[in-house]
Amino acid sequence: MPDWLLAPTLLWMGVFFFAPLFLMLIISFASRGTYGGIEWTLSFANYRALADTLYLQIYFRSLVFATITTALCLLLGFPLAYHIARAPARWQGVWLILVMIPFWTNFLVRTYAWIFILRTEGLLNTVVMGLGLRQDPIEILYTDAAVLIGLVYGYLPFMVLPLYAAIERLDVSVVEAAWDLYASGWSVFWRVVLPLVKPGVIAGCLLVFIPSLGAFITPDLLGGARSMMVGNLIQHEYLVIRDWPFGSAVAFVLMGMVMLGVVGYLKLSGRKM
């Protein structure tokens, strides 16, 4: 294959991705001018400021949220993907469309819809109280639980699709062989199915973990902006404080964490990049 086929993409990525990214890296060493401009006195000051426990706590919080989101997506997504992949071919298409339908609507609109479901006089409470399951409404909107619900909802398809792709390729005869050899249900899953679909699990987890680490709309709308994740901090630094240098530093540390995390994860799960 001739190498020049790469040229258009390389040019595109170079101009529109790597160049801005490099610029951001340089900006992250600059400092904020009094009126929000950039002053080109380069130093590590922004990165030193980030070593503060205040900001470390925000990173930690985001990691915890992203980890829980990924775990919940895997827990919900695996049975679903398994069911779709094992359904008759014509049903598979239907199920997959259903998984993807939410993408036809803007993410912001879908997040607003959750407000209508979760609020005090919303759908959830109407149903729960209508059935007499509870006397007082469940106050769930504007809590961390609401943020998690929103994140899991938003990123579940990213878990389901790669899992489906992996499970669909799974050779049934291997699983049947395991049953024939008197493996227990648990060990069929753990020692036969899981190793075979591992690429799908890895891809799904990465696709959920990375964006939920940087989420900012969901904590604002469903969490009532009562707490910050890294995404909110970056948005705040860029748009409210107009401290682009510090915002860039926050973003680069996040990127570094994600890269280290991904490399470490792939190493641990024994996969070559």
Partner: protein, 353 residues
């Protein structure tokens, strides 16, 4: 493996498709002709039919693009967006934009309506000679409350610290406005630059946080109407809209005072139609146009003669036209220079606490 990667690609594409914030970014700015006016304003900030009238009157086309915060406005202009003619920054942002050299000098001979400004809006400290800006719509920040639930009418910010209303309080999601509440209730200026004062304001706000249902600058009018919150820290206009839907909602500016604000009309230095832009500024400040704007948006107009034309229920609504006694205790937000870092840090700590 191919399937795995194509799936990965598919997901990435879907992901991108799912989260594009604002696609229409006034993309056609370069195709500007001399007879098109580009107006950059807040969302839902134009009275009905007004632009069509101006288009007819001046024989031009008006294109509207919107922003949702002063910082977004500044950010877009700083990052090189040109082609806009008229914009509507708030008071403190006027001085920042002027210092950044983004604003054109106004020719007041072309804007005779400047003579009709309300008294309290004349010669404001951030631009006393109207070199760059003229106040357009203005108002106060106070408390919107549901008088069916909050039965003793509150007169102090301290009601937002009353444990009785735990989980029924919303605050603006705006660091300067939220700190203004704490600072004024401590008897300090809301533009304080003293680290110790800002620190104790933060402590005060942290003690309030368990009572606060959410911080929002957009939803509080709906939340008041639905009863989700019964006390909302917010701008008068949205509270006035909530009143129209739920008559038990009232508005009060606490006795400790708070923020007064004015959104101002400016002509941008990069405008290629400065004469037309100033004609448009003058048009928006016209008494009849201003009155129609106020009636629809429920924000007070800066034209004092418009008062005679707006309906009585608008004029007498303290959420729209604050009484004079209230105006005396209000304070403008001004740029605090390097002290913004202190607010920034305190705000981040508040959100973590």
């Amino acid at each position: 493996m191919v399937k795995f990667f194509s799936m990965l690609l598919l997901c990435s594409v879907l992901y991108l498709a799912g989260c594009q914030p604002d696609a229409d970014d006034a993309a056609q700015k370069t195709t500007q002709t001399s007879r098109t006016l580009y107006y950059f304003t807040w969302s839902d900030y134009v009275g009905p039919g007004l632009l069509a009238d101006f288009e007819r009157e001046a024989g031009v086309k008006v294109v509207v693009d919107t922003f949702s915060s002063n910082e977004e406005l500044l950010g877009k202009l700083q990052s090189g967006a040109t082609g806009y003619d008229v914009a509507v920054p708030s008071d403190y942002m006027v001085s920042i934009m002027a210092q950044q050299g983004l604003l054109a000098e106004l020719d007041l001979a072309k804007i005779p309506n400047v003579d009709l400004l309300e008294e309290q809006l004349q010669r404001l400290p951030f631009d006393p000679d109207y070199r760059h800006s003229i106040p357009y719509l203005w108002g106060t920040v106070g408390i919107g409350y549901d008088s069916d639930v909050v039965q003793t009418p509150p007169d102090s910010w301290s009601v937002l610290w009353d444990p009785q209303y735990k989980g029924k309080i919303s605050m603006l999601n705006d660091q300067r406005e939220v700190f203004a509440v704490a600072l004024r209730s401590m008897g300090k200026s809301l533009n304080s630059r003293d680290p110790a004062t800002i620190e104790s304001a933060k402590a005060k706000l942290l003690s309030q946080k368990p009572l606060v249902r959410l911080y929002t600058s957009e939803l509080y009018d709906q939340l008041l109407v639905s009863g989700e919150v019964v006390l909302a820290h917010g701008w008068g206009g949205p509270v006035a809209r909530a009143m129209a839907e739920r008559p038990s909602i009232k508005y009060v500016v606490p006795k400790e005072g708070g923020t007064i604000w004015a959104d101002c009309l400016v002509v941008l230095k990069s405008s290629r139609n400065k004469d037309l832009a100033m004609q448009f500024v003058n048009y928006l400040l016209d008494r009849e146009v201003a009155a129609r704007t106020t009636e629809r948006l429920l924000f007070a107009s800066s034209n004092r003669e418009a008062r005679a034309l707006v309906p009585a229920h608008v004029l007498e609504n303290p959420a729209i036209y604050p009484p004079d006694s209230v105006i005396d205790r209000m304070e403008w937000i001004t740029d605090v220079g390097e002290a913004i870092k202190l607010y920034d840090r305190a705000w981040t700590e508040l959100k973590l606490g």
